[in-house]
């Protein structure tokens, strides 16, 4: 390589870094950097009046699963914590399944519209996607609360006499999360189905497959990358959800996000809150890494 060529390459790389630097500094200051402080805080000692005492301790981490029993004078498994973890994972999984059950037909429907109509249907999906999560949670609240649309209609129709208590139950959180995260499932599914070669269906039917077998043997395997992308996009924010369970779940049906907040506000156990945050971050990162791996493998196999 000639010196001029080498110089041009070096200058290009240097300019790339220089141009990105202001953004990187901003993110290091107000996004990535502070995460490291959380890791540090998870190894400090709790101060009962809030904040931390700068003294090394692993109690924050132990406290994730165990709680100190003053009567038995020892650590016992914290049932309440396990319930919250289980609820978070369970609700997130069910939310993912429900959004898929509704989102797949929806994405298929949009992708099979005439090209001109498609942009409009897609736009209709993206409006809720970009609408304030808080507003959407309020909106679903308007429907399911005791004096809300659903109960008013059911009572008016004479189906029930006493309003159904949906709000402040796990079901409410589930309905709410399915509602707010549905667009996150539809969009990646649509992106994959849109590239799906419809002639494959002709081939499948030509080779005597029924609709059901075509769906199972042809469509689903090919759109798998979209299914995985959508599932991750729904599962990850569900697991870290804060606003929806807070508004619809009431105090009883906490998820990890609310549990973390509790440690910093009322609970006054910052190290535990920090350790829980790091745990959540690790789970989410693991999920994303699995996604990247699967996505790359599928790309390698010729899709996407």
């Amino acid at each position: 390589m000639s010196p001029a060529e080498e110089n041009a390459i070096k200058t290009s790389a240097r300019n790339g870094w220089l141009l990105s630097l202001p953004a990187l500094v901003m993110l290091a200051f107000a996004a990535t950097g502070p995460l490291l402080i959380v890791v540090w805080y998870s190894f400090l000692t709790a101060n009962d009046t809030g904040n931390v005492i700068h003294q090394f301790s692993t109690e924050g981490w132990v406290g994730i699963l165990f709680t100190y029993d003053i009567f038995e004078d020892g650590w016992v498994l914290a049932d309440a914590h396990l319930t919250i973890f289980w609820r978070s994972v369970w609700l997130s999984l069910v939310t993912t399944a429900l959004t898929f059950a509704i989102g797949f037909p929806t994405a298929w429907f949009i992708a099979t519209r005439p090209a001109k109509e498609r942009a409009l249907w897609l736009f209709l999906i993206t409006i809720p996607f970009w609408t304030n999560l808080l507003i959407r949670t309020f909106a679903i609240n308007e429907v399911i609360r005791n004096e809300g649309l659903l109960n008013t209609l059911l009572i008016w129709a004479g189906v029930i006499e006493v309003p159904l208590q949906i709000n402040y139950t796990e079901t409410a959180v589930l309905i709410g999360m399915t509602y707010v995260y549905l667009p996150l499932m539809v969009l990646p599914l649509y992106a994959t189905i849109e590239r799906f070669d419809m002639r494959l269906l002709e081939a499948s039917y030509d080779l005597y497959a029924s609709r059901w077998r075509t769906l199972r043997r042809v469509i689903l395997p090919i759109v798998k990358p979209g299914i995985i992308a959508g599932s991750i996009l729904v599962f990850v924010p569900s697991l870290g959800a804060y606003v929806t369970p807070r508004i619809l779940g009431g105090g009883k049906n906490m998820m990890i996000g609310n549990f973390i907040e509790l440690q910093f506000l009322q609970g006054k156990n910052w190290p535990l809150g920090a350790a829980l945050s790091v745990t959540l971050l690790i789970i989410v990162t693991a999920a994303l890494l699995v996604y990247v791996k699967v996505a790359n493998r599928d790309r390698g196999a010729g899709h996407g």
Binding site: L24, M26, F29, A31, W130, L182, L239, W270
Partner: protein
């Protein structure tokens, strides 16, 4: 026109579920909008059309202050994040892959991957330390936080625009005696403008929508519209919140429509 016979791409029940999904997506939002125009104090009873709750919200000093704060933070964060994102997009596209480029992508997109509650807690601790150390309690923390998490949203459309831009155009400018700065000013920037506008709008919408991070970072008396609404919910639920929601919704829809018109591909 009635379609007859075997439809290749039709799957039984799918259209029904899809239409149902659209109804379910919009029904709650419509309910909220309709209730915001309800004259009745009880949300269960329709008391006729009224702008009563909008008037109430408008007269409420807290709402006014929160609106101004939301706008100040939103405009500042959109402005800053768009500038930073434009520079970063210029740095990371259309040049020979360089060492550390992937790292830059990961850092820029990091706010999209980390759960909001985790970032919120991290910023509360970190900015708390700075607040104590410097004594400064102003809006700067919120603007910094918003700028950071808006960055990937501003970055993506700008980068997409840059990548779809014909490299030959800048080569042609250089061929026609334009210096690198003139090329940027006269060719790159005008062509990139729609992407930059789109990025700024998305950043603004994202900033305006944020509740979790703001809730944890704000100092006393620094409510934005969303955190104000969340606070109201803790007390009693009034249709005033619906009125504010409807107004925010209108802003979002207007900006999104503009975004789609800006980024729409020309046939």
């Amino acid at each position: 026109m009635a379609e007859r016979g075997f439809q290749i791409s039709r799957l039984p029940g799918f259209a029904t579920v899809a239409i149902g999904a659209f109804v379910l997506l919009y029904l709650p939002i419509l309910t909220l909008v309709v209730y915001s125009f309800n004259a009745s104090n009880s949300v269960a009873v329709w008391g006729g059309f009224s702008l009563h709750w909008y008037a109430d919200a408008w007269a409420n000093e807290d709402v006014k202050a929160a609106t101004v704060r939301s706008l100040v933070i939103g405009v500042s964060a959109a402005f800053l994040s768009t500038i930073l994102a434009t520079l970063a997009a210029l740095g990371t596209t259309r040049r020979r892959a360089f060492k550390g480029q992937t790292l830059i992508y990961v850092v820029i997109n990091q706010p999209l991957m980390v759960p909001e509650i985790v970032t919120a807690v991290a910023l509360m601790i970190f900015f708390g330390i700075i607040k104590v150390a410097t004594g400064y309690q102003g809006l700067g923390y919120l603007i910094a936080a918003h700028t950071a998490f808006c960055l990937p949203f501003a970055y993506l459309p700008i980068r997409a625009r840059l990548e779809s831009m014909d490299l030959a155009l800048e080569t042609a400018a250089a061929d026609l005696y334009a210096s690198p700065w003139q090329t940027f000013r006269r060719v790159t920037l005008p062509l990139l403008a729609p992407g930059i506008m789109a990025g700024a709008m998305l950043a603004f919408v994202i900033s305006l929508d944020d509740v979790v991070i703001t809730e944890f970072v704000k100092s006393g008396g620094q409510d934005t519209l969303p955190t104000y609404m969340l606070g109201q919910l803790r007390r009693s639920f009034t249709p005033e919140v619906n009125a504010i929601s409807t107004m925010l919704l209108a802003v979002t829809v207007v900006l999104l429509t503009a975004f789609f018109l800006l980024t729409r591909k020309k046939d």
